[in-house]
Symmetry: C2
Subunit: 253 residues, 2 copies
């Protein structure tokens, strides 16, 4: 255990740079805020390069810290605050290593995100995909960064429970189809069908689109079938994460 | 049309107080930010006591303004910003009058919120209830304020499409039952049943609970049947707005 009292410490200043996506990509590492996410990451075998803990955090999670951390930094509240995205950080912040790229396998149910921009929506959809029993989530171009603090927080740790991959959806959709998994888009065009008429199945991909524009026409043209949810009231649309939840729970057998 | 250039103007200073719940309740009025919400309010017959518009807003929505507003204030960007909850206000902010309290009728499907604290969740659930064809939403004690800017924004205007009422749920649940509508709670207790085994129906109430603690034991004891959603993956729970969406779309005939 080492102590850091000042947010002007070199390691702290370097670590703080991970608040920016550019530095996360350069270093292939990211910040995890709060005990729950850090605990989930550790349990999933994620390498924690550095862990910063306040005195309060040390008191609260001493048993876990002793059992799981070979090394950590005891830091002042000011230091912890300087690393956090939220006004009241939860006593512990870690630097985690991004996973190696793995080859995808296309079995099971997959959620594909086409330009879903809100980090809260992306995180919530990952959490919902986990709860619905999906195998993985593919983040297409334009979608919010998985390692944005708000995305991470909204996943509630589910990013460590299923496969998550960044891919060009125009390339990946044909690969699902080649592997025998139908790909469902979401749209309101006249060839789309009401989701309740779609049979439950085990192997498929479901594509959700941008909050305002929906799916891109290029991707809609690649799907096997497009689905819609009938809106009964006067709402113009559903929040994309809500629509994804309704569809995922309906479609997966 | 009158002009206001300074955020120190008395009317602006008074209006700014509506950012606080206390003043909203005292004056029975609230702030609406952005053209879309204001347009929805006006179309629903809500009284707009004051409307503040920037030059950019005036250019963009001149036809609507001419047709719908007898009077408005042209304000500087600085003034608009001082009234807004968001860093980049959308050109128009209005002071709207809260509706008179109406007597409730218990027919149709109703969503009851027990201590749901996040304004985004409450707003999204109102939007989803609208889309699912629900008749209304009842905000129980401890739930986020309907007139919080984040709640309003998340409703996307759906607050004007169905009935919304603040009530003590312990008093209102027996009234649904007396009117012949079963009341479903959400819980993981051993007498709860998997939602997919529940029949679709037209008249009922569904209660969703707090983000962390779920429904209060007192209310769970009052319901006719409690439901749960089977979690298939390793997620500990679903976001409450997602769970509400899955249940609402499944239950309403």
């Amino acid at each position: 255990m080492k102590e850091i009292q000042s947010s002007k410490n070199t390691l702290i200043k370097e670590t703080k740079k991970l608040q920016q996506k550019k530095y996360r990509q350069q270093t292939q590492s990211y910040l995890l805020e709060g005990f729950h996410l850090i605990q989930e990451a550790q349990a999933a075998g994620v390498v924690l390069k550095e862990v910063f803990i306040s005195q309060r955090g040390l008191n609260e999670w001493s048993a876990w810290i002793e059992e799981n951390l070979a090394e950590y930094y005891l830091v002042s509240d000011e230091v912890l605050k300087s690393l956090a995205s939220q006004p009241a950080p939860q006593g512990m912040i870690a630097v985690a290593e991004m996973p190696q790229k793995e080859t995808l396998n296309f079995s099971g149910a997959w959620l594909l995100l086409d330009n879903v921009q809100d980090p809260g929506n992306v995180g919530t959809m990952i959490r919902t995909a986990d709860a619905a029993g999906f195998s993985g989530v593919i983040l297409g171009q334009g979608s919010a960064d998985l390692y944005n603090p708000k995305t991470l927080r909204s996943t509630q740790g589910s990013l460590y429970h299923l496969k998550i991959s960044n891919q060009d959806l125009a390339e990946i959709i044909p690969q699902f189809q080649h592997a025998g998994s139908p790909v469902f888009g979401t749209a309101l065009d006249k060839e789309a069908k009401e989701y309740l008429t779609a049979a439950k199945m085990e192997n498929f991909a479901l594509v959700m689109g941008n909050e305002g524009q929906g799916m891109s026409p290029e991707l809609l043209a690649l799907t096997d079938q497009n689905l819609y949810i009938t809106i009964k009231g006067q709402a113009e649309s559903l929040n994309v994460a809500i629509a994804a939840g309704v569809l995922m729970f309906h479609l997966l057998k």
